[in-house]
Amino acid sequence: MRLNEIPVDGVPYDRLKIDQIPASPAYAPRDPELVPAAGRTLVINPDRICMPIGAMWAVLGVHRAIPFVQGAQGCTTYARYTFSRIFKEPATIATASFHEDAAVFGGRRNLIEGLRNLVVRYWPEVIGIATTCSSEIMGDDLVSFVKEARVKIGEEIGAEKMDRIAMVIINTPSFAGSHVDGYDRASKAFIETLATGRDNPDRRVNIIPGLLYPGDIREIRHLLEEMEIEATVLFDISDTLDAPLAPPQEIPYYPPGGTTLQEIRGMGNALATFALQPAAGASGARSLERRLGVPAVVGPTPVGVDATDALLQNLSRITGREIPSSLKIERGRLIDAMADTFHHTMMKRVAIFGDPDTVTGVARFVCELGMTPVAVTPGTRTKTFEQEMDGIFAGYRELFLDAPRVFNGGDLFEFEEYLKTLPRLDLIIGNSKGIDISRELEVPLVRVGFPIYDRFGYQKRPIVGYRGAELLLYEIVNAILDFRYPDDRTQQL
């Protein structure tokens, strides 16, 4: 019954729920050749960006660091727009400004001149140089260009000042992977360039969060604090991309916080490196393990009970610190919330899309809530996604109402077309790109992941940890409730 068909008098309450109409009754299936993404040359509505922005994200998490993009102006400007729209913060990213002459002669002049200008105007401590498809196709020899630049700039400003500025080259050709891979490569590049020694082993751990938001990183820090563990968070955007508004400001503007150069240099001394998102950061962790023997603990992304338990147990095992009662209480509160809301989350069908580790994390959590994930798709294809999903679903298959459909690296068009064939769908969890699908199917969207640009505050709301899971749970259940009950009747729950 639709809202405007509900008679006013004498209708028992249980008849007043709005029926979920089939997703799209008049839907005519598309030409099947056009829909499955595997083997299809045409991509429609891709849910991923190219590599350089992942590297820029990483560099923006370093203290007084500025990314320098060796490419045309669009690579930088578009990325700055993206950061501004998501974080509502300024993003200081420099460009080598390739014009026609660079395409012909190569980007050497642009790099050397650009680095020099950046240094004398901004005095950064770290410059992360990200390449683009242009520079990679042209075969710019960045190693030798940067060496030359350092000599030239050193002549101008003095060797001592030049030595204090670290430059890290990150190879991010846009055609060889997605933004997730860009971040991953940045983690490896930074660690290999800067974390060179293990001269002073200590009891710290390294955390490489991956493409998690400031809210998530703060939640991880909270967990570490409760366990009294000191950590270096590599690429800590929790302050740099969430700075307070408190004029007057220093010029040039540098946001507060970020991982310091000193901290990065000391990463070789840690007890272990935790890469929270396997697709974004594992390379760095494994590189450190290979070169300096610092054990790498890769994943899972700590969304939901099991995954957060795993993280805390690993932390406890490696550092020898106990899991404190305060965190057990947080866990208990989450379990309590899950029990209280279970009646509304159970047997709900949910579709999930986004970055691969966000999708695995959220999928794991919604299974814990008794929901059935009917379709999952990561925008970026990874080798292990299907296995990981199999592993997650293994314990829950008897509870599933339908068998989940697992895509791997498809686009949103394919996802949307599949959702339209489903007889019933209760919820979509994903980023802002899903709003059109959500409106068309009349299914609520819970915004999680990258990028969220059409609302405010999602970058501050954690999804990791026990508290993050609780907040996500409330959003999920309230979205379901908003759509399920007519909005002119109050409902006691």
């Binding site: 669009g74 650009g114 050709p173 004029p247």
Partner: protein, 466 residues
């Protein structure tokens, strides 16, 4: 006080790009030059410019021949998301060439959208560098599908800013879409609007005013530009160029090919709207009384509704930093608001744009070309305008400096025409008087507190002493 751009560390290349208007002589900065690398210029690439012009065309397939990023980024234009197709070039395509993939992608796209009237294939940096023969592929695909398949040669590096993208997009429209319809006769009392993207309903405001003069709009480029309208655009009696940068090359092309005259106009601000309506009225021989009636009613109504907001804006200081031509067209609107313009600037304006801006500003105004981020920061810090207007990227930086910001193209309501002026006044007044700015400053914090450019910490200070 002279804006201390010379105090910025050793970059003589930037010197001519800032001028201060003095009485009598025109103040035209150095402009139209290549971007200086590494400075954080606000400019974007040629592909961006091409998408700016073409994205809003509704009934064609927009296919980006390049890696994932360009399609993703290019799908959002003026904050609106458009469906974009991509051939998603990957490593092996870079090595072995992507032409076969492009051909297959075009065919698949046409099958996916059988009602499309044409296909626009955008080349990106990658496609340009690997030497993709876009013309041949497009021709082959056109033969195979029976549809027009038009290459847009827009690799990002093909110019020093978006401007080159605007121009090549205009050329694409002129060559393939404008005036291809079979009907040749001129429609009396009809116009096209060039350089009008119908942001937040601007076009409706303009249309309503023109209708009062008995005129109708055939096509707006590209805010209302379905292929059918473009095909008949040559039948218009007059082209109205609303934005010089994005409209003039179209206008000149149409004049050359079809003899359509054009008129530079602006519908922003009361004075400009009135002048534009009068000029259009004169061109069409509309009864002067009718035109004056429209102008009078519009102006008086707008002034009445805007008055409570104009009170809050009177004497406040505004700085504008736009793409190119808006400096001039919006500059007047801000004067109508009663605000003082202390700075106008643009990312990629050319001489004509700065001459236009120069005519609209008074002595003492700073005129700056291709201002990189830091120069804007310093300006904000030194002069602390009451309102800065520009694009999204500058917004959050301005907020951190404690300066209210109005985003262009606008986010909330139409700004064109008489009613649009009221909206502009309301939004500007709202932003300027937001309580948060008072709350942001605690007691004792004055503009010259630590953080002032001339009170830098030790490291930067001795590096700047030369």
């Amino acid at each position: 006080m002279a804006f201390p751009i010379e105090a910025l560390p050793a970059l003589p290349a930037r010197r001519g790009h800032l001028v201060i208007k003095t009485r009598g002589t025109p103040a035209i900065p150095e402009c139209g030059s290549a971007t200086i690398p590494g400075l954080l210029s606000e400019r974007s690439c040629v592909f961006y410019g091409a998408r700016w012009m073409l994205a809003a065309i509704p009934d064609v397939i927009h296919l980006v021949h390049g890696p994932a990023g360009c399609a993703y980024y290019g799908s959002t234009v003026r904050r609106t998301s458009y469906r974009v197709y991509s051939s998603m070039l990957e490593e092996r395509d870079i090595v072995f060439g992507g032409s076969a993939r492009l051909y297959a992608a075009i065919l698949a796209a046409v099958r996916r959208e059988p009602t499309a009237k044409a296909v626009l294939v955008y080349a990106t940096c990658a496609a340009g560098l690997i030497g993709e023969d876009l013309d041949t592929m497009c021709r082959n695909a056109s033969e195979a599908t029976g549809l027009q398949v038009v290459p847009v040669n827009s690799p990002g590096f093909r110019g020093c800013s978006q401007a080159a993208g605007h121009d090549l997009a205009a050329e694409v429209l002129l060559r393939h879409f404008i005036g291809v319809g079979s009907e040749q006769s001129m429609i009396p009392n009809s116009v096209n609007i060039l350089g009008e993207f119908d942001v937040q309903g601007d076009l409706q405001q303009i249309e309503a005013l023109l209708q009062q003069l008995g005129l109708r709009i055939i096509c707006a480029f590209s805010g209302r530009a379905p292929t059918a309208a473009m095909a008949g655009a040559h039948r218009a009696r007059l082209n109205i160029v609303h934005c010089r940068r994005t409209g003039e090359s179209l206008a000149e092309g149409m004049q050359e090919r079809f003899g359509t005259p054009h008129l530079k106009a602006s519908f922003f601000g009361l004075e400009e709207t009135a002048a534009t309506l009068r000029a259009i009225g004169r061109f069409f021989g509309t009864d002067e009384a009718v035109v004056e009636e429209v102008v009078e009613t519009g102006c008086s109504e707008a002034r009445r509704l805007a008055e409570p907001f104009l009170k809050r804006l009177r004497g406040k200081r505004a700085a504008l930093f736009f793409g190119a031509s808006r400096m001039g067209s919006m500059g007047k609107a801000f004067r109508d608001l009663g605000m003082n313009l202390i700075m106008v600037g643009s990312q990629f304006g050319c001489r004509v744009d700065y001459e236009d801006a120069d005519r609209k500003v008074v002595e003492g105004t700073v005129i700056i070309d291709d201002a990189p981020e830091q120069e804007l920061e310093i300006f904000l810090h030194q002069r602390h305008p009451d309102l800065l207007c520009g694009g999204t990227k500058e917004k959050y930086m301005a907020h951190k400096m404690g300066v209210p910001f109005l985003v262009f193209p606008q986010e909330g309501s139409p700004f064109a025409g008489f009613r649009g002026f009221v909206n502009l006044a309301r939004e500007a007044a709202g932003l300027v008087s937001a309580p948060v700015w008072r709350l942001a400053r605690s007691e004792g914090d004055l503009p010259d507190a630590p953080g002032s450019f001339f009170a830098l910490s030790g490291k930067e200070k001795d590096n700047n002493e030369r």
